[in-house]
């Protein structure tokens, strides 16, 4: 099953390159088949437990090992589904938005990179995946032409820098232990200086690539400049890749002393991201920038959850962490698609463009509001589940009033920026007239993930159980 998931996007990309005319069709086909395969993988994993594979049939240590646990398969499924959705959206709008033909193979490659990343348990292979991911992302950003070149270049430079930091860490670790396989490495781990430095270097590189505060500077410009479907993919999936590796490193490798030292930093950075990202999102005058800053802020939740998880070792935080990732992916995809659709139709990129959008494009606005509800954490959305897990964990730890208050503040900030847009949309006094008749299909497509994130609540109990025990 894993093979299918890896080969399909790869072959798909190649065929798209050979026959660009049928690229959209191939992309949709690939994404849908992959979704089915991912679903089957999920069932397989939930039935038979973790699937571990040593590639090329060589013994552990020499070969690259892949592992599909339930979290990985969930993320793969998410990736495939979002690819399908965004592909449909892009297909519906690519003529109007002048989306380059390059989008299709690139998005397919993105899927390949992500799938490889979710599965891989080899430090160097992860590096290659990261690079693949980074370059694909930049290439996708640069699709929108001149205005995106500079953000894309910044993104690329910092992404490369991050990769190199990571690579240095890998080199040091290999130098110290002589293995690359994470599970083998974990067995031999010693909390000495080289491993600490290596871990730190890798962490910084990954934080840079995942746009975790304070290394998030490149993200808003890049995500805002990209075409709407690309922004959706980037915000929903790409930044999660490095985060995944980060969790892998700290949860599976790091020793107790290292964890204890770094946990407050993670939590603190997460908190700062939440607050400052929220304020930036609240103050920015551009619609897509707002959503992008919201990504910065929401990643802060994941970071915070990671920090708390490391600190308290409470499984609820693991659940919170991954629920945040899942919920944010869906919600952010919806947000970007909705905002992209609205700004494209109403013509303008300022947030004031949204004036009267509740009249002119009610569906898209509804999608944005619903997705925003999950970002805020209104019940019964996925965001709520995550926040609930986080709060439960904190209360169960006892005496964590500071973090609780901070979370409340952050939630309020997110509510403020979401509803800043929503309130504008209800402005009937001075609505912005659409440039052309709004189209229904893209709006429905934007609504779909938003509804999905609310539907997550229906499966909350299995999800919580699954992610709690998983915790990587």
């Amino acid at each position: 099953m894993m093979v299918v998931l890896l080969v399909l996007p790869l072959l798909g990309t190649l065929f798209m390159l050979l026959w660009p005319k049928i690229a959209p069709l191939l992309a949709l086909l690939t994404a849908s088949v992959c979704s089915l395969a991912a679903l089957q993988l999920l069932f397989l994993v939930s039935e038979q437990g973790n699937q571990q594979v040593l590639l090329a049939g060589w013994p552990s240590g020499l070969a690259i090992s892949l592992e599909a646990n339930s979290l990985s398969s969930l993320l793969i499924l998410l990736t495939a589904l979002l690819q399908l959705l965004v592909g449909l959206y892009a297909f519906a709008t690519h003529r109007r938005d002048k989306l380059g033909a390059g989008f299709w193979p690139l998005s397919c490659m993105l899927q390949l990179g992500l799938t490889a990343l979710w599965l891989s348990r080899d430090l160097f292979n992860l590096y290659v995946c990261l690079e693949l991911l980074g370059i694909v992302a930049v290439a996708l950003v640069s699709l929108s032409g001149d205005k995106a070149i500079k953000p894309a270049l910044n993104y690329l430079l910092l992404s490369l820098f991050g990769s190199l930091c990571y690579l240095l860490g890998v080199a040091i670790l290999y130098g110290a232990y002589g293995v690359l396989d994470i599970t083998v490495l974990a067995a031999r781990w010693q909390a000495d200086l080289p491993s600490s430095i290596a871990l730190l270097l890798m962490t910084l590189g990954l934080m840079l690539k995942a746009a975790l505060w304070p290394l998030h500077g490149w993200l808003p410009a890049a995500h805002a400049a990209a075409p709407a479907p690309v922004s959706a993919l980037l915000s929903a999936l790409v930044v999660k890749g490095p985060l995944f590796i980060l969790c892998l490193l700290w949860l599976q490798l790091a020793g107790a002393t290292q964890v204890a030292a770094v946990a407050p930093w993670f939590a603190g950075c997460g908190l700062a991201a939440l607050l400052l990202g929220g304020v930036s999102a609240l103050r920015t005058p551009f619609a897509k920038n707002m959503v992008a800053y919201s990504t910065v802020a929401q990643l802060g939740y994941a970071m915070l959850a990671l920090g708390l998880l490391l600190r308290f070792n409470q499984p609820l935080f693991a659940a919170a962490l991954w629920l945040f990732v899942l919920a944010h992916a869906l919600a952010k995809a919806a947000c970007f698609l909705a905002i992209g659709e609205i700004t494209a139709t109403l013509g303008g990129k300022r947030i004031n463009t949204l004036k009267g959008a509740s009249q002119t494009m009610p569906l898209a606005m509804f999608a944005f509001a619903v997705a925003g509800g999950s970002l805020i954490g209104l019940p019964p959305s996925g965001g709520f589940l995550a926040k609930w897990a986080l709060l439960q964990g904190l209360w169960l730890q006892g005496g964590q009033l500071f973090w609780l208050l901070a979370i409340v503040l952050a939630t309020l900030l997110s509510a403020a920026y979401v509803f800043r847009a929503v309130v504008l949309a209800f402005d009937r006094a001075d609505p912005v007239a659409p440039d052309f008749a709004p189209r229904i299909l893209p709006q429905w497509l934007a609504l779909l993930p938003a509804l999905a994130v609310w539907a997550m609540a229906l499966y909350s109990e299995p999800l919580l159980q699954l992610l709690k025990q998983e915790g990587l």
Binding site: L55, A56, N125, V128, E131, L132, I172, I197
Partner: protein, 314 residues
């Protein structure tokens, strides 16, 4: 002791070149210094018992990167005045970098002196890998997934670069270089073939060979030759893609050919077919790399301008 002295001078030279490249006032100087640095680096690696890597570094690190930088420099506006940075702007980063460096160095110094145990495992595995050169075995058998992805990255770079490529202005070619390049081309192809073949047992391999081929092709392209070498040409596209495609198809074939396969293992070559498969994969990979690199460096032939240029040349 003398060797140590040599090493010390080499290291000092490397550091000086790098620093000079960073601090030089003119960008063009920086690029030249960087190429020199790359060559020195190749030397250092050769000294460290890694001749195949030295070859690759010379071709890719120094040659290809330098060429790319120069072509980028050519598109850049001429620099009117050198950059001036005030001292605090230069100093503060230096402080932090030194601090960070200290940390990294401290870690590096604590690394164990013995090499990885993987060497032994690799040695044990080579017998079944189909090739005798351990690096090639690792590349195309033990960790072939990395290599596959790496090829994808290369392809991706081409896609990305093509996507953002600016329009190419046709340049007239220089007759002397035209003649030289025509002479050079077959030699380059021969050499590349040897490198590819040697890769199985000696230093050499697909990348070095591909880089060499690409260098030849680039030279020809710079002289307005090879106008058929363009992305819009289906066969070229097929060749570029084939590096990955053949790899994948071989892997799928391998799954089918493995007798009595109960569990599917991705990228496992059947031991008796391994040599052939690897050679095939390498061959196509070389071609693909060469074409990709060529297109990366030389870019698309300017569609109208190129024909115009050719006409003039004729």
């Amino acid at each position: 002791m003398r060797l140590l002295l040599f090493d010390a001078i080499l290291c000092l030279l490397l550091l000086t070149l790098a620093l000079a490249s960073i601090l030089s006032r003119q960008l063009a100087h920086a690029v030249i210094l960087y190429i020199a640095f790359g060559l020195m680096m190749a030397l250092a690696w050769a000294r460290l018992a890694a001749p195949d890597l030295a070859l690759a570094e010379a071709a890719i690190g120094a040659g290809l990167t330098g060429a790319l930088c120069f072509s980028a420099l050519a598109h850049q506006q001429p620099q009117l005045k050198p950059d001036v940075l005030n001292w605090p702007k230069r100093l503060w980063p230096a402080v932090f970098v030194l601090l960070m460096l200290g940390g990294v160095l401290a870690a590096l110094l604590q690394l164990p002196p013995s090499a990885s145990q993987l060497i032994a495992v690799t040695q044990a595995g080579i017998g079944n890998s189909g090739v005798s050169h351990p690096v090639t075995a690792v590349l195309l058998n033990f960790r072939s997934w990395d290599t596959l992805l790496e090829l994808v990255v290369l392809l991706l770079a081409l896609l990305g670069a093509r996507q953002v490529a600016p329009e190419v202005k046709p340049a007239t070619s220089w007759p002397l270089s035209l003649g030289w390049s025509r002479l050079l081309a077959p030699m380059v192809i021969l050499l590349a073939g040897y490198l590819l073949w040697a890769g199985a047992s000696q230093p050499g391999g697909a990348f070095q060979a591909g880089a060499l081929l690409a260098a030849g092709a680039v030279v020809l392209r710079l002289n307005q030759q090879l106008s058929w070498l363009s992305w819009s040409n289906f066969w070229i596209r097929l060749l570029i893609v084939s590096g990955v495609l053949v790899f994948v198809l071989m892997a799928l074939l391998a799954i089918l050919l493995t007798p009595g396969n109960t569990d599917v293992v991705w990228l496992r070559w059947p031991p008796h077919l391994a040599a052939g498969i690897i050679l095939l994969v390498e061959l196509f990979a070389t071609l693909a790399i060469a074409l990709t690199l060529t297109l990366l460096v030389a870019g698309e032939p300017a569609s109208t301008g190129a024909e115009h240029g050719c006409g003039e040349g004729a």
